[in-house]
Amino acid sequence: MTVEYLLITAVVMFGHMEDFLGAALFSRPLVLGPLVGLALGDPVQGIIIGATLELIFMGNIKVGAAIPPDVITGGALGTAFAIMSGNGAEIALAIAIPVSIIAEIIISGLFVVRPALNSRFEKYAAEGNFKKIEVLHVASGLTKPLLMGTLAFLALQLGDEAMQTFLNSIPAWVQSGLSVAGSMLPAVGFAMLMNLMFNKHAAVYFFLGFILASYLKLPMIAIGALGIIIAIIITGAAGNSTDSEEYSNDDEQEPVADRQITKRDLRKVFFRSLALEANFNFETWQNTGFAYSIIPVLKKLYHTKEQMSSALRRHLQFFNTTAHGSTLILGITAAMEEQNSTSGDFDTESINAVKSGLMGPLAGVFDSLFWGTLKVIAAGIGVSLAMDGNMLGPLLFILIFNIPHFSLRYYMTFAGYNTGNRFLQNLARSGIMAKLTSGATILGLMVIGAMPVILMPLKTPITIGTQGSEVSLQMILDQLAPGLLSLALTFFAFWLVRRNIKTTWILLGILVLGFVGSILNIFI
């Protein structure tokens, strides 16, 4: 089994390498599940389990300092133990939830310990030694994959037999209870997503998505495509913008006498930005990642130790923004550093003022764009295919998210550098952000509205009426609207989320509800 253990450990480590891969969703259960399945010779089961876990951890997003349960370690181990013991998704789930909570505590510990390195980073900055900063940033970033990989390997090596015996001793009624509960848990994820977007004005789009899925039985891809069309019509994004002429002049590049930074340098900044969060910590957040990313520019501009040292220190200050959109700020910073290097009286304070002025607001925009919308659509379509074991599921999941992600991330490095502040002013003036956000809400809500029907089939075996003339309650419900029970459960979870009840409690509550419901034969 050791070869398999090592392969699974490699999958866990690959998942935790997300900090070097630009938060591109390679670490999600929908991707790691199939990889674990592949390692164990059962990729189809891996895809199916991955899809189930993806659903349950769907609302599990990283915003600011809120560190979500570590679904990488939990999901990979859960999938592995389930496949090795010949069980299904319900067992994977039962392992994944507690393991991911424990793993989250360990990772939070790492983020508390990492600030101890800060004095070292500052010392290197004072020496103007960018090489050592790069090395330390990468080395610290590798601690997470190494630590979690080691723990996963130990868990497999020491726990496998005990776990198998334990899993095999679980009685059938517990298994079926878990299975029912597991099929109800996605409601929590849906509710958390609704919480981001649902409001009086946009509620109609949620119900539109529900109706398309429930009565018209449209697949997720069709609903997503319709959502895009409706969003474009409603926001008027397709119409000829009347004020496009007004600001097209601004886009013309100012003639800059002395450009030292080349496309090649900016491309390096883009690639390095993928490692922005490698040394994430609770004291200075992404600061060393920012320094690491901007170093190719600094190397080009500053040639004395003094200049390099003050620039490095400047960029070791607190930084935190959405990783996907970080290149816009990096590009603007590159342009300001270049100005500073050529003009004698440039106020270097303004560089950090712009950085810290932009990081919060842009995080607001990019969080909602990438986490709130793009990921939701990618997961909705990916999971709906992967539930049947279709390899296209994980593949589309990655592509739908990353084609826009990497194109925008790359483009913004250059846009930030070339047009900098004017790019932002255009964004603000053209009202494109408002359009984008409201369009994204429409699209997101339609997909979320379809999710309970397509992704959480919940049924009841209850019959009503006297013996001999029983009528199935499910049949009556289906005549009203297929998926009505799933919709009701989703709204129940949403109501709990809106009352600020902690997610862990909601998860546990629904778990109990499903378990009891299964024993009492209310749900199947």
Partner: protein
Amino acid sequence: MIRLIRIDDRLLHGQVSFTWVPSLKINCIVIANNKVATDEFQKMALNIAKPPSAKLLIYTLKDAIAFLCDAKARNQEILVLVNSIADALSVAKEINEIKTINFGGIRMKTGAKLISKAIAIDDNDITFIKELLERGLELEIRQVPGDKKTIIDSSVINIPQ
């Protein structure tokens, strides 16, 4: 009415518009900050980040206090954002309605000490916190609404520096 006053040195960002605004059904965000109120660039950046469901007002401390005292503010669900404990104190002094102050994020600076994973305070801050406590305000640390409240009391600030 004021639903929440929050100290967050990034002011408006993902955590705020993603979690606090929907959870408290906020329809009006007031940023009270003397520097930002006169900085066109920052104002523009913050306006890009504005969640669609709320309006955003950016005022100096003085104007923010005037607005919050005004009768118009009664019928709105307001979230007040300041970026320092000092500013929170200035606002709380003038507005009796405020009974609780939320500590969302204060980054590390020299001479400061972390009292929670996202809150660092220095000696000046401790003086302000003492004054806030003497005024009988509840000071709670929570990054997002679902977090468990950590209350700042005298035991937290008496840690020897």
